[in-house]
């Protein structure tokens, strides 16, 4: 019998990760680019570039970031093709179409909590021929499953495009257990870029540079040290102090996240509220913002106190959860879930 490969995929707006049952794990930037013209094609020697390579060569590419707010953009054939390329690339990295045939791949893909059924159907259609069977689940649910945190837990998954909330009550989360905010890493980037442009109008700064600075230095609350970055000002590399701008940009996500967290807590049955309050897990890249868990714990003091912990290695937490689901799903179920 042919070897079956189970994979968990966290298809993210900014980064996509894959964890496979053969032990392979990879993460790539969710960018796909096609050479703009024959010259670019000749220079790049490739029909399509994916991930970091695509970002690095963006000036020569028709660059696509196909997952807006964690969802496949409908109506854009190029974006659908970009997602297919991205998925093929991820699967190739773990050995599919090398030693393993695509018809033997069973995949679990995480999508934002508030993804509509039409979005899921659309994603399912776009994965036809790429994997054999497909299970689509909400991303924070995949995280919770991977951590065995299925009862009296709240997952707050801060990605690039969305922040997903999910209260686990020992059942597959329904709409009432989940929320999705459009305020996440990307909105911090936009805000930070705007603030830097206002403070240093002469500086030449791009969203890619801002994203890199944020990923390296992001914080809320008091800074540990000044955040000094280098950017060209009239062509001359110049040091810029962005400490206060970075703090302001990062703190813009605090009020909506706090409000949603407390609102969801208030909807938990009263006898379980304390247990959920003391079991809040931050995941996703945004979970690494320094001081965020403390800030959320401070906000919880107003409703009786609580505990917020963050995952040290948030990159694969969603795809690992997806992989756990893929492995645990009975064979009979996979047969019904043909892509």
């Amino acid at each position: 019998m042919a070897e079956i490969l189970h994979v968990g995929i966290d298809l993210g707006t900014s980064r996509s990760a894959i964890s496979a049952s053969n032990g392979e794990r990879f993460v790539v930037d969710s960018f796909v680019g096609w050479p703009l013209d024959m010259v670019a094609k000749k220079v790049l020697k490739r029909d399509v570039l994916i991930g970091h390579e695509a970002v690095s060569n963006r000036t020569m590419l028709d660059l696509h970031r196909p997952l807006e707010r964690g969802l496949l953009k409908e109506g854009s054939e190029k974006d659908v093709e970009a997602v297919r390329e991205l998925l093929r690339h991820l699967l190739r990295l773990v050995g599919v179409n090398g030693k393993i045939d695509a018809s033997n791949v069973r995949a679990v893909v995480g999508v934002p909590a508030a993804a509509l059924r039409t979005n899921k159907q659309y994603l399912r259609n776009s994965m036809k021929g790429i994997v054999d069977s497909l299970l689509i689940v909400s991303e924070p649910f995949a995280v919770a499953y991977g951590l065995d945190a299925l009862l009296h837990t709240m997952i707050i998954d801060i990605g690039a495009g969305t922040t997903d909330f999910c209260v686990m009550k020992g059942r597959y989360p329904t709409e009432e257990d989940q929320r999705t905010l459009m305020i996440a890493g990307d909105s911090i980037d936009t805000q930070l870029l705007k603030l830097i442009e206002e403070r240093y109008p002469q500086a030449n700064v791009t969203v890619f540079m801002v994203r890199e600075w944020k990923e390296k230095h992001s914080f809320v609350g008091e800074p540990q040290a000044p955040v000094i970055v280098t950017a060209p000002v009239k062509g001359v590399p110049t040091e810029l102090d962005i400490t206060s701008d970075l703090r302001t940009a990062c703190e813009t996500i605090l009020p909506p996240i706090t409000e949603t967290m407390i609102d969801l807590l208030a909807r938990v049955e009263p006898e379980f509220q304390e247990r959920v309050r003391t079991n809040i897990i931050l995941s996703g890249g945004g979970g690494l913002i320094r001081g965020l868990s403390d800030a959320l714990e401070n906000a919880l003091k107003g409703v009786g106190g609580g505990k917020v912990r963050y995952m040290e290695d948030p990159v694969f937490i969603g795809s690992d959860g997806g992989l756990a689901l893929a492995i645990d799903a009975p064979e009979g179920d996979w047969e019904k879930l043909t892509a």
């Binding site: 299970l135 499953y145 299925l150 020992g170 059942r171 009432e176």
Partner: protein
């Protein structure tokens, strides 16, 4: 023990995840949330079997008299279609066949979708004062008002969410395409020749003989992109429009709330009232529409107040009160573009 429990929960959630996926594949609508306790579910399933004998026993206990219908608390008693005096047959459930007229209060969402139009923006700053522009103030008030409306359950569409140039005809087109119920444009006045003046005024669509208003409308419309011929056609078509009454009502309520609320912060504020003028955003929109001049930047004292976030919040709250009051007063069903009085 704990591990066994986790395994049990895992199997359950996995089963539910697969079921949800199969529903999506088959196009089955989402399942309703079931009560968490399986004993509750079992009892709910058994309820009909238990209720039937109970009802029969109760009927026999009353000597075969009809059981009076139970009127639930909070519900008005409906006229009875069955004569309870006709004993002999058990009446287990009374129904009424008479059709009651449904009151308009049953449709409380006549004003559901609101378009907020923050005046000016981008390359068009509007009125200006020291370190503040009309476009910034209107955008900020728009943001604040949006939050208040959304919290109350209104659906809000904004013509601009940031500092960008949006043509007046595009603002109107957005409002019309979104099939909204009302349109509220936020502006700030500047009366350069009378810097001591400061007041509040609200406009709705109509002709005006006041040369100063014609001048004001001309200034606001200057970036509309409409030719004079277009304007004439538009005006001919809409001056007789029935929605004028609704716009007038909305303008009256908004002006009242604005003035009452803001006067408390500034005793020198004047009530310049509700006025008619052919502003392009009022002309080209298909729904009741008003343009509120919420302050006067040419007055130094008022410009200082408009720079304060708490004062802008107060303006947003007053506009919100006006919109909500209008919505409450018009909470019956209505056809788009037709008046809704009685």
């Amino acid at each position: 023990m704990r591990a066994a429990r986790i395994e049990r929960v895992k199997r359950r959630v996995l089963r539910q995840a697969v079921a949800e996926n199969l529903d999506v594949i088959r196009g089955v609508p989402p399942r309703a949330v079931r009560p968490g306790n399986r004993y509750v579910r079992i009892w709910l399933r058994r309820a009909p079997y238990l209720l039937v004998p109970l009802v029969i026993v109760a009927w026999l206990g009353r000597g075969g008299q009809a059981i009076p219908p139970v009127v639930e608390a909070g519900l008005a008693a409906q006229p009875r279609a069955v004569n309870a005096g006709q004993a002999g047959l058990p009446v287990l459930h009374e129904t009424t066949t008479s059709v009651e007229r449904v009151t308009s209060a049953a449709f409380p969402l006549a004003v559901r979708r609101v378009v907020l139009d923050a005046g000016h923006g981008g390359s068009d700053p509007g009125a200006t004062a020291v370190s503040v522009t009309e476009k910034t103030i209107t955008l900020d008030i728009g943001h604040r008002l949006r939050g208040l409306l959304e919290r109350e359950g209104f659906e809000v569409i904004t013509t601009r969410a940031d500092d960008r140039t949006i043509a007046l005809r595009d603002r109107a087109r957005l409002a019309n395409d979104s099939n909204s119920d009302i349109f509220v444009s936020i502006h700030v006045n500047a009366i350069v020749k009378h810097t001591a003046s400061r007041g509040i005024e609200t406009y709705y669509l109509g002709p005006t003989n006041d040369p100063s208003l014609t001048q004001l409308a001309a200034a606001e419309n200057s970036v509309s992109g409409y030719s004079l011929g277009d304007m004439r056609k538009l005006l001919d078509g809409v001056y007789a429009d029935a929605r004028r009454d609704e716009s007038h009502e909305l303008a009256t309520i908004v002006q009242r709330e604005l003035f009452t609320s803001l006067r408390a912060s500034d005793s020198g504020l004047e009530n310049w009232g509700v006025k008619r003028a052919p502003f392009i955003v009022l002309v080209a929109t298909d729904m009741p529409a008003v343009l509120a001049e919420v302050g006067c930047l040419s007055n130094e004292k008022e410009a200082a107040m408009l720079r304060r976030p708490e004062y802008r919040q107060k303006i947003a709250a007053a506009l919100f009160d006006g919109i909500r009051a209008y919505a409450s007063a018009n909470d019956g069903p209505k056809t788009k573009g037709s008046p809704n009085h009685g």
